[in-house]
Symmetry: C2
Subunit: 382 residues, 2 copies
């Protein structure tokens, strides 16, 4: 039997809310999309947004699918909760290898990422010294956004592969088209998805031509996963923020605003009537400083404001954030009127970036049909 939680109007603020129905439907939508792509491509969700076993169990039940993580703390936590097939998708720092090796000794099918000869050597040497295999993927840069070897740079790919392969630890290639976050429509995301696929497939083909096995060809980001038209040559897709979605993703067109599962509950603590401001007790500590919609067609500043029932107020934004204060005001040139929100009123603020906002909180207050149904702890740190 479920413990009955107080109704939403009984909580202190700020408080992170998670609409369970959005979480479930967002995950089902991407799973369905991938299964309909007409090709055997597996799904490796990224757990860096959720950082919570209850989120994973809500969507995967007893299943323990392959996952992606952004920290070794995530790897350790999810391994302790039964997840075995894990890619740590940040280029490995030498001093982190001891924790990787410890996890592998405990039975984790943990794989690491390298994009250069030195890192490959370090992985290979550590594996040899500790008599443990440490499978590594080669990171491929398909959008000039961050890390990785250029797909056309056969020499580097082969050089890294040779070092890894000597220890039997070349696991495949991986790319992340983070540049897709800068798209303002899904046509753009589809084009980047194409580059992501082409680059990963080219790198894999280059390595295979030189005789290397490349079991994993991994691509993904939330926008490209929702926009890709083909996964030819790809073995798996990754995505993270798709579980919760946020205003950046809505601005790209990867979701509707109604799909956003995460919001921050806040209380009205003041007004500056002459300026058209409503002051709430949620600032950047609760929302994060993420301004991801700043460069989009519609700048949502620090977030879109909804009532406690989740219905959006027309054009009401958090226009400024101090540490523990947020200022709500109408969008410039709006013809809407400022809602009447007396002191003590509750509002919900939709975030720019779910990963950043969730990271500011210790737990999720889970809502089912608007009613609190559970508190799910999340973790932070490295």
């Amino acid at each position: 039997m479920k413990t009955l939680l107080p109704s939403l109007d009984q909580y202190e603020t700020p408080r992170l809310l998670l609409e369970k129905s959005c979480l479930i439907s967002n995950v089902r939508r991407l799973q369905k999309r991938l299964s309909e792509m007409g090709k055997e491509v597996s799904f490796r969700p990224h757990m860096k947004t959720a950082k919570c076993i209850d989120v994973a169990e809500a969507v995967f039940g007893e299943a323990r699918p392959p996952i992606t993580v952004s920290t070794l703390k995530e790897a350790e936590y999810f391994f302790d909760h039964g997840f075995n097939d894990i890619i740590y998708a940040v280029g490995i720092a030498p001093k982190k290898l001891s924790r990787v090796i410890e996890l592998r000794r405990r039975g984790a099918e943990l794989k690491v990422l390298v994009d250069n000869i030195d890192s490959a050597m370090t992985v290979s040497q550590a594996a040899a010294e500790m008599a443990v295999s440490v499978p590594a993927l080669i990171e491929v840069d398909t959008d000039g956004h961050r890390a990785g070897v250029a797909p056309s740079d056969g020499e580097s790919l082969r050089g890294i592969a040779a070092i890894l392969d000597a220890r039997g630890s070349l696991a495949g290639v991986l790319t992340h088209a983070g540049h897709s976050y800068n798209c303002t429509d899904m046509e753009c995301a589809a084009a980047i998805a194409n580059d992501e696929r082409d680059g990963a497939a080219l790198a894999a083909a280059t390595l295979r031509q030189s005789g290397y096995a490349v079991p994993i060809v991994s691509v993904g980001s939330t926008p490209t996963a929702h926009a890709a038209r083909s996964y030819d040559g790809i073995t798996e897709v990754r995505a993270g923020v798709f579980m919760f979605f946020d205003l950046v993703m809505a601005g790209i067109g990867a979701c509707a605003i109604e799909d956003i599962g995460l919001s921050v509950l806040a209380t009205v603590i003041g007004h500056q009537k002459s300026r058209g401001w409503i002051i709430v007790d949620a600032g950047w500590m609760a929302m994060s400083r993420d301004r991801g919609t700043q460069k989009q067609r519609i700048d949502q500043v620090y977030g879109l404001v909804c009532g406690v029932d989740g219905a959006m107020y027309p054009d009401l934004l958090m226009v400024e954030a101090n540490q523990e204060h947020g200022i709500l005001a109408l969008r410039a040139n709006s013809t809407a009127s400022l809602p009447d929100l007396p002191i003590g009123s509750l509002v919900r603020i939709l975030p720019n970036h779910a990963c950043a906002t969730a990271a500011q909180h210790e737990d999720y207050l889970v809502l089912e049909q608007g009613t609190p149904s559970a508190v799910w702890k999340r973790f932070s740190g490295w």
Copy 2:
């Protein structure tokens, strides 16, 4: 005897570092400045940046001076560590009053903040119902930045005071010139400090003319505390980020870059040589998304990069931050050359905003003369 900690090159990254000598000298500098102002003005440091008893004890020793807090969790934590005279400097939300009353019953001299009739009524009624006094300060808006009653709005000031005074709980007036963060020099901060002082003193005088006692007249922000030329009519000064300082404060001129006590240790995990990039394992999760220097004369993007010894690399910045990746590159038009930082090299990144960066970490690795000397836990949440 001190426990010997490993040398700095032995830590996994990202890791928050705190130079103890900076902390001490930053606090001593402001204490000295205030004591030299030639007037009896007390100091009420804001603990929202530090959120750590060890930081407080490093600077105050056994003393338990008056403090300011931004959350009730800070109030509870510091009260449990012996601090008694506490102002919770965010307009009180009605549902938070039960925790305030609980702290007062336990003996805390906790004071709250109101800037409107409704909040004053709620405080007054709750105090009456619970048979506990709840002293409140009236927030005054001296810079149009956020919350507060205009200093010239005698009617509102008297209206709020009348409600509070009926319960004997008018503790004074308080203002925070947060607008001083937008200054680009200390002349500007001095002008805002003057407005801050004038406004607070005017509000206090207005209330006293109507017969109310106004024991506390509280002003402050780090820039104005370092720039103010007079505290006539003021009883106490508040400041928070001055303990650690950061690039925003250096950009204003409130400190030198060498005074910044906080940095994030990161490891080089890759290079994109053709683009002049060095990739490290600290992204926005470690630095925060704060871009406080964006509007300053010198934009430090996500932070200035130093060697592990703390010496700055000329013009080297974190120019982009993903969740767990940072991209280091030279400032545009720099004539410096990119330092040779092989895979595994450690760097230290100075933050834009100490409050936001510290909030991303669970502890401080404390350095004395470059050597780790302690680990101090910090807390988060509300």
